[in-house]
Amino acid sequence: MIAHRSIGRELALLLASSLGLAACSGRVLTLDDTQSPETPSNVDAGPSVEKLPLPDESGSFWVDDTRLYWQTESQWLRSCLHEDCDHTTISYGRALGLVGIGENVIFWSTWGGGGVSSCPKTGCENGALTWVVRDPNGQASAVSGDYYYWSSAFDIFRCPSAGCGEIPEVVARGESPWDLKLAGSRVYWSNIRAAADGVSELSDIRSAPQDGSEGPTTIATISYSYVDFAVDTRNLYWIDQSFQVVSCPLETCQSQSPTPLTSNQPKWGLTVDASGLYWLDRSGGTDVVMHCPLGGCSSEPQALTTGHVLGTWSYGYPYALDSTYLYWQERRGKTGDTLDTRSVRRMRKPTQ
């Protein structure tokens, strides 16, 4: 007998991953009631770290410049303003997970065979959400503006937040991405294919305009599969097989060797924005958010967090970025084995 797969759940979680937003597998993370709500010694240790309390225990969280979003233990999707969470909390609906935060709306995966719904970030009027699309084959996804992008079987589609209709807009045909990212006006994805030896696998990083007006092109071919990559409007970045972050210009990536930007400490969860590169370093047994300027680490990468960042999430990264801050959740207690789900820490991002 064949077990049913909850594809919608994977869809949502993978999307969060592709956005570099924090997400978790939806597993129950509970506070230990027998423990006093201790704060790790590092938290609030310096003036640069703020602690934002949440009104609920959160299973996962996401951010934009004005709001903090989280999924409660009972899978309600909620948000509040950064500065006054207790008095500004709103609920959107029950969700398998948040799919992405657009310019004016949020997208989340609903119960029901790969369904995605949307709602204004300020709340659904009269509880009315919009049914964007239902696609049981949906896999990697991302959000830009108020469009939802996703890969499905052999195509990449997009839908506006108002909904797709019967046939979605086609961004690219004949593609089978397992990861999807957006930068500038383009979509980037990685296709996995067999290498010439017939045994090992390669990743083709491909790109097309977000409106599908031109066919896709190959940006780079990387010699292993399931590459952790990030992209901005100028460069492609990825964690190579020796755990170095490397990069190359988008225009010449296919024809030149990538430039190493970091040491080869074990790392995962690569994200890029204008303030630099971020990733998680687990070399010390816990996950620490690291940072380098876009040009590379002149000496050692900078460890931004010094506490126990949650590091066992099945999907997504346990940190998030908006235009000003880095956000994360930490473990607490003397043994550090319990996640503080009632708050989110943040600090200003480094400048370049």
Binding site: V133, N137, E166, N191
Partner: protein
Amino acid sequence: MRRLLIMLPVLALACGSKSLDLQAAPHITSSTDPTVVGAIDEQVSRIAVDGERIYWMGSQGWFSTEGFRGTTALRSCKKADCENSLVTYASELAGTQFGFAVQEGQIYWFDFRYPSSEPLWSIFACDVAGCAAGTPTRTTPSELDRYGRAVAYGSDAIYASVHLDGGDSTGLYRIPFPGHTGPAKLITIATGDVLALGIHGDYLYWVEGAAVTPAPPPSTLWRAHVSGNETPQTLAKNVQLAGYGSGLDPDYPRVLAFDSSYIYWHQRTLDGAIERCPLSGCAGAAEVVVAPIRSPLSVLVAGSKLYWIHDTQAQGLALSSCTIGNCVSPELNAPYLASITALALDDQYLYTATTDHAPPPLPIWNHSLSQIRRLPR
């Protein structure tokens, strides 16, 4: 001679053990709607017809995020008096994915449960009027005591793909119906997964690929003579047969359809299509017969008419059709279908099963009532 009708692939899979009265007959009611053969308190998937009776697999239970929970039965009733002519052949099928066939007064089906809980195939048979002593006959050749992937029913034999021991290859077998001469025979060996299997004339057709996630590569269409005496031919490459997940059963065998000159298949994406190649193979790219179709899920050819079941945003599963060569504006024949496999033909009618409405969102998805319908061809 009763006409064999080939069922379309799977929707439901049984994996639960909810406490239901498995021996209880479904409640069947007649209808004033002339297109309704009977209304049944089951989710009807897979339909076949012969001259007198209509046959179906029916499930009672519900879909949840964990899959189907409930039971599945194989039943029939007379077309003319369904309410008073119910026959149940099996009441605890492990699933519907391998369908069944009706041939010369016998009904044949696969089940997983005999002789143990191991997932090995077995073929069962009953007289269409009812099983002797109430018990199906097991007719499995020993060659088939393996895990199966896909099934096609011919006029005198069953064709099945089974995983061979010690590797990823798949054996394609011909198993004569009981009463027909000859032992089970290995026709050929496929090197990949067999995603779809069909029989037409003297050839067995199949699509070979990898049912992997998240990025299934395009597959290849093959055919081989049922004698096993000819080298298999590649008919088409780059066959984007389907996505890998219906959301209900990611592994169900996809469907192939035939007319006298062509083989048809469907690209099951939201921007999908039905394509075809000549039976001898495509010289170049496959011909697109109709597109775009939102997630075509099965296809059937009846003369010059092409029928397909597909997804819709607002009306759940739907049945549409067009005349081959004139498919710019397809006709919607029936919305709110009960399953992606409920489609069969006789000389006069097209048979399908509908519900009253599109299924509600998961986690509770309970098709408790289906109408078996016959629509003029």
